[in-house]
């Protein structure tokens, strides 16, 4: 099933060149530099004075309680946000993929949280989540439930962040699902209709299988992005209360840029990056993306 003859396969490098050049310069080399930095005591304010200290940073981080705590926090985040956000995104994509009056309006609405600045959403969400006079507790009280401490509770704060992130991010994945849905040729549906297939059967036997590559891609990238959570806790809780919403990337950023310990921050970046890669490989194996489509 080889589409391109081997003779032409070397041409590939021409097409790859611009992307590889840019990725090497602005992503790959910086990452390699991080490896080098991670072996030094690089202080942001004294770049010339850095000393090679071997694996000391690596030994420190496995004993660093905040780093370990941040890893636990992000694990909780990933476990809950993945099904929530991807599920909501797929649902929204299916809704707007159907032609109905006001479709453009719906498309804009669902995508709005992605484009609206976090400055806006944080003001509103802080109001909604305010434990004393917030809307959410107002609704709970109406339903006869007691008020919850929400963002001020070390137990609940991460769940509030999970809800907020899924709400805010779902539009992004919706857009990608939508592109995937648009890529399914209409002829297949038309043929199925002629064969007397119902809506559910079409969804089950055409949409889902045809959407598989898109879904796998979304699962992989959302998974990785979820591990890189930083903005929402930074804006909403500053990692608190009692470090209950601090995430590794936020902690790395804080260590490197606020505390100026770039060497140590680089070591954490490397260890955490390798860990995510391993998790991603497992995740892709489990979801079946690992096989790729090399033989097509």
């Amino acid at each position: 099933m080889k589409s391109i003859t081997s003779a032409k396969s070397n041409q590939a490098w021409i097409y790859l060149f611009p992307a590889l050049l840019l990725l090497t310069l602005f992503l790959f080399i910086p990452a390699l530099m991080s490896i080098y930095y991670s072996l030094t005591d690089y202080n942001m304010l004294a770049p010339q004075a850095r000393l090679f200290i071997g694996l000391k940073n690596y030994l420190t981080l496995f004993k660093d309680p905040i780093f370990l705590k941040s890893v636990r926090n992000v694990a909780q985040f990933v476990i809950f946000v993945m099904p929530l956000q991807v599920g909501v995104a797929l649902g929204l994509a299916l809704i707007v993929n159907k032609k109905r009056p006001g479709n453009t309006f719906f498309k804009i609405s669902f995508f709005a949280p992605v484009v609206v600045s976090l400055v806006v959403t944080s003001v509103l969400w802080l109001y909604i989540l305010n434990p004393e006079q917030g809307l959410l507790n107002g609704v709970l009280n109406q339903l006869g439930l007691p008020s919850q401490p929400l963002l001020t509770s070390p137990k609940q704060a991460m769940f509030a962040i999970i809800g907020l992130s899924a709400w805010q991010g779902a539009g992004y994945q919706m857009l990608i699902f939508l592109a995937g849905l648009q890529n399914i040729p209409n002829e297949i549906y038309e043929a199925a209709t002629l064969d007397g297939a119902g809506k559910w059967e079409k969804f089950r036997h055409i949409t889902l299988p045809m959407l598989k590559p898109t879904s796998l891609m979304i699962l992989t990238t959302t998974f990785i992005d979820a591990f890189k959570l930083i903005v929402q806790p930074m804006v909403m809780t500053q990692g608190g209360p009692m470090d209950s919403t601090i995430t590794p990337v936020y902690y790395i950023y804080r260590t490197g840029f606020t505390d100026r310990q770039l060497g140590y921050a680089s070591a954490m970046t490397i260890v955490y990056g390798v860990a995510i890669i391993l998790f991603t490989v497992i995740q892709r194996k489990v979801t079946g993306a690992g096989g790729d489509n090399d033989d097509r």
């Binding site: 390699l32 530099m33 009692m242 505390d259």
Partner: protein, 430 residues
């Protein structure tokens, strides 16, 4: 095949290391002995930026040595992000300007890393400069940076809400006779009973620099401290009885419901809370946007034991980079910018507190009563924040300590909490 791939990686790695290692000193920061480049942390379109432009024009025209100054405007975000990232990048490539602005708490770290050099000998009329400003810029007994403005915080109060709660004008504290924590809590209690809401927004939901900045004066009033005067010991200082009493006071405020850890946004401005702990910038906000709120400013509550009034201070400052090739010109520029006339222009345009006694006298004639009050409180009781190399970590631990103290159910024993927190701070001291 395998080998060549490895070869590529090796080459890339080598080039990366090369790139990072050879941050050679090939960039001169200034372009000559008579030209001074300066970076500032605000936009040229801000009032502060416009005043700077006027000051620079004046410098270029008036100085007799033929110096020329050029300014680059780099608007910061939040507490300094963006601007400080740019400084960090410039350090990395050795392209720092001759003169830069830096926030007060950065003095020690910048001086310790030898990024900036002492400027004391260039500054004239130093006795006129507020003690808090000199403290803020001093590291190892040398003046490394010089603030051009001050900041201050007070207790804003809603006059109508106070009188409706039956609080008499005569009960209110003054700079000469401030209120003790007990008196403050008594008034808070009456306000809480009247309005069935917290009496004051103490900004306890703000876990940033605002925490140590606005709450540490309680600790200083009681005679407590974060560290010893050398900045080498926290245990025994951050958990002294004096420091503990201040955190006990904060905890009691929350426990009794006089304040809240999750205040409504702009609760004071919209008449929901009768008091707010806030800085001088709120004067402009209230005067421009919330004209129907009749407010005044009251002094910081003081420890009942010492009755000593202490209030927060600190702001951005000028410093000279160590790499400058034009130290004389840079020194002349800094001295010019913090001189009476230029400081007056900057501080008036930006409506901030002045850093000189003489400018204070000038400004007090021009500003409204709340601003006059803050200028007076600042001169009388201003206290600089600690000058520590690892200040960001210490500031954050302070904020954490406040948060933990306000969770009174989890941390009922303040002495125990403070012991643990003092140990946390200790690890950041050198």
């Amino acid at each position: 095949m395998k080998l060549s791939k490895f070869g590529i990686v090796a080459v890339l790695f080598a080039s990366a290391v090369g790139l990072s290692a050879c941050t050679a000193k090939n960039d001169a920061s200034g372009s000559g002995k008579d030209t001074v480049n300066m970076w500032v942390h605000y936009s040229k379109e801000d009032p502060e930026g416009k005043a700077m432009k006027q000051n620079i024009n004046a410098f270029n025209k008036e100085n007799k040595q033929g110096y020329t100054a050029k300014v680059q405007y780099i608007p910061r975000s939040g507490s300094g992000g963006g601007y400080e990232d740019k400084i960090n990048a410039a350090l990395n490539s050795n392209t720092l300007p001759d003169v830069l602005t830096l926030d007060g708490p950065n003095t020690a770290a910048y001086a310790n890393s030898k990024i900036i050099q002492p400027v004391g000998k260039y500054i004239k009329n130093k006795d006129d400069i507020l003690q808090s400003i000199r403290d803020q810029g001093t590291f190892n007994n040398k003046l490394y940076a010089i603030g051009y403005s001050e900041s201050g915080v007070g207790i804003y109060y809603n006059k109508k809400m106070f009188s409706a709660a039956g609080i008499q004008e005569s009960e209110l504290p003054t700079l000469e006779k401030p209120w003790t924590w007990d008196e403050f809590m008594d008034i808070s209690k009456r306000l809480k009973q009247k309005y069935n809401a917290p009496a004051i927004d103490m900004q306890l939901s703000d876990h940033s620099e605002m925490s140590i900045y606005s709450l540490a004066p309680f600790m200083w009033s009681a005679g407590g401290n974060v560290t010893n005067s050398k900045g080498t010991k926290a245990v025994g200082y951050f958990n002294s009885d004096e420091t503990n009493s201040a955190f006990q006071f904060i905890q009691n405020m929350v426990k009794n419901g006089y304040t809240t850890i999750s205040p409504k946004q702009k609760g004071f401005q919209t008449g929901k809370y009768a008091m707010m702990l806030s800085g001088s910038w709120t004067i402009q906000e209230l005067d421009n946007q919330y004209k129907d709120i009749d407010y005044g400013i009251l002094p910081y509550p003081v420890s009942p034991k010492t009755k000593k009034l202490v209030s927060p201070t600190g702001s951005w400052q000028y410093a000279m980079s160590s790499s400058t090739k034009a130290p004389k010109a840079a020194g002349a520029l800094i001295n010019f910018l913090v001189a009476k006339k230029q400081m007056y222009r900057t501080d008036m345009s930006n409506t901030v507190l002045p850093a000189r006694k003489s400018v204070s006298e000038l400004m007090k004639k021009k500003v409204n009563a709340p601003m006059q009050f803050l200028i007076d409180q600042n001169q009388k009781s201003g206290h600089a924040r600690p000058v520590l190399v690892n200040y960001p970590q210490v500031s954050r631990t302070f904020a954490e300590t406040v948060t933990k103290a306000t969770y009174y159910k989890e941390n009922p024993d303040i002495a125990k909490l403070m012991k643990k927190q003092a140990q946390d701070i200790q690890q950041y001291l050198k």
